[in-house]
Symmetry: C2
Subunit: 284 residues, 2 copies
């Protein structure tokens, strides 16, 4: 069986994997430090594991336009050391095989469409709610890229103004209101430490439902997959569904809103789909 | 040259056309009354003009899923007489040629992508701001259909609550805040009668910019085309662009926001693109 390499390059941690799918996956993870050190960690993981291709799902913003001078670079990140870093070039030099490249959420969306909760659907949406909020869409079986990749976490939603939000660009965009760091800033402790009865969760469900409504009326996905660290609170998914129905108010039937079938492995498994695409594109 | 029929079926008026494109188009329009009378008007227009195929861009919501029992029907409209009306079936019986079918805004998006402001682009967005607000997206050269068609006018945006909005489902969604009827309800006269210095226009630009931001971060279109009766105020487009830049606050470069190149003929010309698709699908 083909052996692919996968890298889920997150702002907090990197996850590396070898294999070919959910039933054939060996993973390791380590913290994201400086680029050189982190890439060395990736190279060390793959040393002695011959690959035929690899794929990276990266935190962003990134340049996903083949042919652009900065294709494969992380662009405007505030993360120290990573701004303008050519992550695709660095991994290509380290691994010396074709390397596919996309956002971490697009990778996860591809993996869920291939093996998970969006299997068989032509149009689906994967959203992660964690350190940031991001979304990847599959439209007509292909990942949605337009001018660049989407930046769905930055949608604007109604809010009552009692919390100014933490997004350095927009303050109270969805990410600024509802990401893990936003919850921590607002409520004074980590989201994981807030009990299910805390009012934080009603506010969180309301914000996420408004964001979902905006994505749903724009993309009309057949199913929405809602993952990420903040969503690991089991009570939250049902609350979000309830709020979404209230906001839609009967105007349209909401699509199913489900948890990732691949759990927290959607991101790294996306690397395999991107690896396969890189191999195919090279063989053309 | 092939002669197609086109019907732009709006809630206020129907526009019928014969021809093959912007340089070969004969049009007529008449008010939308009851379904039987209106369809008779369409049949009369096409009588004596032999067609090889036709296309309808219709007001909605409509069922755009081929194979569905209600494919081609207008579904939940509050418009008297039209609820659950089989508009595709009625026109097929009247015209007896293959008939393509989609929303009015998807038709306009297709026409602008074929002949107008989105020519040559793979991913674009057409938005109309008039009696309602609607959007049609082209993604990877194809019109975006997911579970159904988008309902972009119903995005939720931040607002200060001084105006409750007029959407019967959502109150202050974008359509409820910024459509022509919303402006009339808020300011007491038709949008066309408000002078350029009226504060209504700053509010309108702010609402539309927030909606645009939401669609842009979700779809990443290469270009956005902003049409419809309310946008015929020449000063409004520049204000919307300015507000959008302020809202994005440097986070990403906005795509170009432009007027329709096909003017108010995008909708009817979309019928020709849909007609061609119907012919192609029949020949398969």
């Amino acid at each position: 069986m083909a052996v692919y390499g996968a890298v889920e390059a997150g702002g907090t941690k990197f996850v590396c994997g070898v294999g070919s799918g959910p039933d054939d996956l060996v993973c390791a993870e380590f913290p994201t430090t400086q680029p050189e050190e982190t890439i060395r960690g990736v190279a060390d993981f793959f040393a002695g594991r011959p690959l035929i291709a690899a794929g990276i799902g990266s935190f962003g913003p990134i340049d996903v336009t083949p042919g652009s001078p900065t294709y494969g670079h992380i662009t405007d990140t505030p993360k120290a050391g990573w701004r303008n870093f050519d992550i695709l070039g660095a991994l290509h030099r380290a691994l010396r095989v074709p390397v596919g490249f996309d956002t971490d959420v697009n990778g996860a969306a591809l993996a869920e469409a291939r093996w998970g909760a969006a299997r068989g659907l032509h149009t689906s949406l994967y959203v992660t709610v964690g350190t940031g909020i991001g979304g990847g869409a599959i439209v007509n079986h292909r990942v949605l890229h337009g001018r660049s990749h989407p930046e769905m976490g930055h949608v604007l939603i109604p809010h009552d103004g009692t919390f100014a939000g933490v997004c350095p660009f927009h303050g109270a965009c969805l990410e600024g209101l509802a990401s893990g760091p936003a919850m921590e800033a607002r409520w004074g402790c980590k989201a994981t430490d807030l009990p299910p009865g805390h009012p934080a969760w009603e506010a969180e469900a309301q914000f996420l439902a408004a964001g979902l409504l905006n994505w749903i009326v724009t993309l009309s996905p057949q199913r929405v997959i809602l993952g990420g660290g903040v969503m690991s609170q089991e009570h939250l998914l049902a609350r979000v569904r309830q709020r979404l129905c209230e906001l839609l108010n009967g105007y349209l039937q909401p699509p199913e809103i489900v948890a990732p079938e691949l759990g927290n492995r959607s991101g790294v498994l996306g690397g395999f789909v991107l690896a396969e695409a890189a191999l195919y594109n090279q063989s053309k």
